[in-house]
């Protein structure tokens, strides 16, 4: 069992999807056990593949898929350390989430279909990270989007859920179109979809700078759509209409990370386009602030986590734009685990609160939900970047690469971002778990059953201890040397005083400040802000009016344009094209039918004359 078998990971999940979707209702557990077995198998296989890759280096495997003229498209996978990191994250979190769902989704009328969709998503995501070819990549990218759409709209009877699914799909589609155009621009310039060939040509200077800039910008727009970067972030909070485990897996840990993964995968191209990297970093930083600011004012526990996810994805983009590819992937990995943990914890809370998600009704849950409280504290402190949890190491790495390649101003901005993070974590923890219960449901909440707390506990370990991966121990040289992006060498993790002390001190003090602030006021927004700058609060409550802008655009630009197109369709295509053709046919038929005399002799005469004309043509021309 080596890395050439890596294709089995998506393959078993695809098989599980097909079987569960087709035969689920006759299987034990309506197919859920089969789906979990498949993702469990994938998780076990992951260790074999990883052992092989770590021991023998990366490998590429492909076979011809189809020929089209001179072009041979190959179906292949590239098993390298970047793919390994993602494989581990996806399979581990998928496994935990599916086990959690077993209990969480119990009694749902479409229980089996839910697990089939999870298998589909896992298969697509695993195939996506293995793709070595932009065409395969794009197909799986769309499949992942499809899985996300179906799972957001899983409870489609609820209007808000189906609306959210459509919003997510359409918003990411905008990015996907850009990505497709970017891929085609690259294909036009290189004549191939193979990543390795494209990179080789780019490094050899065979692709013009304009093409590189254009394609990377387009690819980044695709990544921004999937990773919910400003201005495409609006779909992610609405996506929380899906079941909470779905949010944990897709809208926190894996799918939204696909954009970050895409940029990291295309790193050899992006490093050749410094201007685009500036854009990536700028968008990332903007997203950090927007996400964190909006997370401060939300009252729905899942939406707080969603905006936090947006903000953290902004951190990853910021790192990518600052040449910190390894840091971005490490933050992706750490974030995937602790954010999945937060969402699963939120699922337990919502379960205990009888489907109430408003944190204004919570409070004092610490004693009622002790296990969830521990999980939330660990994951929340990791999110805030408190030593020695995983988030601290990854965020430090991100901030260090910003300081290293972007300078002090950007670094300071990043620090402010992490301060905001600590603040909203403090707010979340305080309002949910501390203080007095603010509703009957909160007073009577009971800890989730073991089937749900077990996966939560299993995720605690990586959320807390993943930071150890950053350090060197034994033969292992630390994550900075494990995952190396050419043309950069290995960069082992160090405790840089310039990053370590300010970030830790600021995060810690901001966290404590937030706790005390909320303890004093007990409200959902700091009284200070409410008194001094009410307009900011209003703006944040309205999500910075972005949804309004988009709605206006749809109403006044898209719909007007659609009406014009519809008019054209009606007048030109339908009336002048289709109907006129029909009328002409009808009219000519009315005239020509008189040839049909019904008399054999007439027909025979026609045949004879026609045959003679043909013979005449042949002998005169031939």
């Amino acid at each position: 069992m080596g890395m050439e078998w890596a294709w089995l990971l998506p393959a078993v999940c695809t098989g599980a999807f097909v079987v569960v979707a087709a035969l689920g209702r006759w299987l034990p557990g309506r197919g859920s056990l089969l789906a979990i077995g498949a993702i469990g198998t994938a998780f076990v296989l992951f260790w074999f593949v990883m052992a092989d890759v770590v021991g023998n280096g990366p490998g590429s495997f492909s076979r011809a898929w189809f020929d089209s003229g001179d072009l041979t498209v190959r179906l292949g996978m590239r098993v390298d350390k970047l793919a390994i990191v993602m494989l581990g994250l996806v399979s581990a979190v998928s496994l935990a989430v599916q086990v959690y769902s077993l209990r969480y989704m119990r009694g749902d009328p479409r229980f089996g279909w839910y697990f089939a969709l999870h298998s589909l998503f896992a298969a697509s995501m695993l195939a996506l990270v293995l793709a070595d070819n932009l065409l395969v990549f794009y197909i799986t990218w769309e499949l992942v989007g499809l899985g996300s759409y179906l799972l957001i709209g899983f409870w489609w009877e609820r209007r808000s859920a189906s609306e959210a699914a459509k919003k997510a799909f359409i918003t990411t589609r905008i990015g996907d179109v850009a990505l497709l155009i970017g891929i085609l621009v690259l294909f036009k310039a290189t004549g191939t979809f193979e990543l390795s060939q494209i990179f080789a040509m780019a490094q050899a200077g065979e692709i013009s700078q304009t093409t590189i800039n254009l394609s990377t910008v387009l690819i980044f727009i695709g990544a921004a759509g999937k990773s919910a970067q400003f201005p495409f972030h609006v779909w992610l909070p609405d996506a929380m209409e899906g079941p909470t485990p779905v949010s944990a897996l897709i809208h926190a840990a894996t799918m939204v990370a696909a954009g970050v993964y895409l940029v990291a995968r295309m790193a050899p191209l992006f490093v050749l386009a410094p201007g685009v990297l500036d854009l990536v970093a700028f968008i990332g930083l903007t997203t950090v602030f927007i996400g964190a600011a909006l997370a401060m004012v939300q009252t729905d526990i899942k939406r707080i986590l969603a905006y936090s996810t947006i903000s953290q994805l902004g951190f990853m983009m910021l790192a990518l734009g600052s040449l910190g590819f390894t840091a971005a992937i490490f933050h992706l990995l750490a974030h995937g685990f602790f954010k999945a943990l937060l969402f699963l914890g939120a699922g337990s809370i919502i379960h205990a609160m009888h489907e109430r998600q408003d944190i204004r009704e919570m409070g004092g849950l610490r004693s009622r939900l002790p296990a969830t409280w521990v999980a939330f504290v660990i994951a929340g402190l990791a999110l805030a970047g408190i030593f020695p949890l995983s988030g601290f190491f990854s965020k430090d790495d991100v901030l260090f690469s910003v300081l290293d390649n972007r300078g002090v101003v950007w670094f300071a901005a990043g620090l402010i971002g992490s301060v905001l993070t600590a603040l909203y974590v403090a707010r979340l923890l305080y309002l949910v778990f501390l203080g007095e219960p603010r509703s009957q449901a909160a007073r009577e909440a009971r800890e989730a059953p073991l089937g749900m707390t077990l996966p939560v506990m299993a995720l605690m370990a990586p959320a807390a201890g993943l930071g150890l991966l950053a350090l060197a121990w034994g033969d292992y040289d630390g994550f900075g040397s494990f995952l190396v992006f050419l043309p950069f060498g290995s960069r082992p993790f160090e405790f840089h005083g310039a990053v370590f002390w300010p970030s830790l001190a600021l995060a810690f003090s901001a966290f404590l400040m937030g706790l005390s602030m909320y303890r004093q006021t007990g409200g959902v927004a700091p009284a200070l802000v409410r008194r001094r700058i009410p307009w900011l609060l209003t703006a944040l409550d309205n999500k910075l009016y972005l949804d309004h802008v988009y709605q206006w655009t749809v109403d006044h630009v898209v719909l007007v344009g659609s009406r014009l197109v519809a008019l054209f369709d009606r007048a030109v295509v339908n009336d002048a094209g289709v109907d006129a053709t029909g009328r002409a046919t009808r009219w000519s038929g009315l005239v020509l039918r008189y040839h049909e005399t019904g008399l054999v002799s007439t027909y025979m005469l026609t045949i004879a004359v026609t045959a003679m004309v043909i013979v005449l043509i042949v002998i005169t021309t031939g």
Binding site: T597, G598, V600, S601, A608
Partner: protein, 102 residues
């Protein structure tokens, strides 16, 4: 010596006569007779080509045999149809059978 062209001329004359007969008659049986004439013209051509141009292959003669076979089958069916027609309409004139028109 009989030249190939002589035979072809004969065949052309017979074929044209048959065509004229098919077009000029209204009695179904007469049309069938004219068709037989045309078929025979074709057969003469085939035989002539085989004998004069590729005597080893015999394809034309074998084709002629098959054509005679098919002509016999066709005539049998056609006459059956004519009988049927006569029984229902008391006439075998094709210009009285014109239901299949506009």
């Amino acid at each position: 010596m009989i030249e190939l062209e002589y035979v072809l001329f004969l065949s052309a004359v017979l074929f044209s006569l048959g065509l004229f007969g098919v077009l000029a008659r209204r009695n179904a049986v007469m049309i069938l007779l004219a068709i037989e004439l045309m078929l025979n013209a074709v057969n003469i051509n085939l035989v002539a080509f085989t004998v004069y141009l590729s005597p080893d292959l015999l394809v034309g003669i074998i084709f002629a045999i098959f054509i005679i076979t098919v002509a016999a089958a066709e005539l049998a069916l056609a006459l059956a149809i004519v009988l049927r027609l006569y029984r229902t309409r008391s006439s075998v004139n094709v210009d009285e059978v014109n239901l299949m028109r506009w």
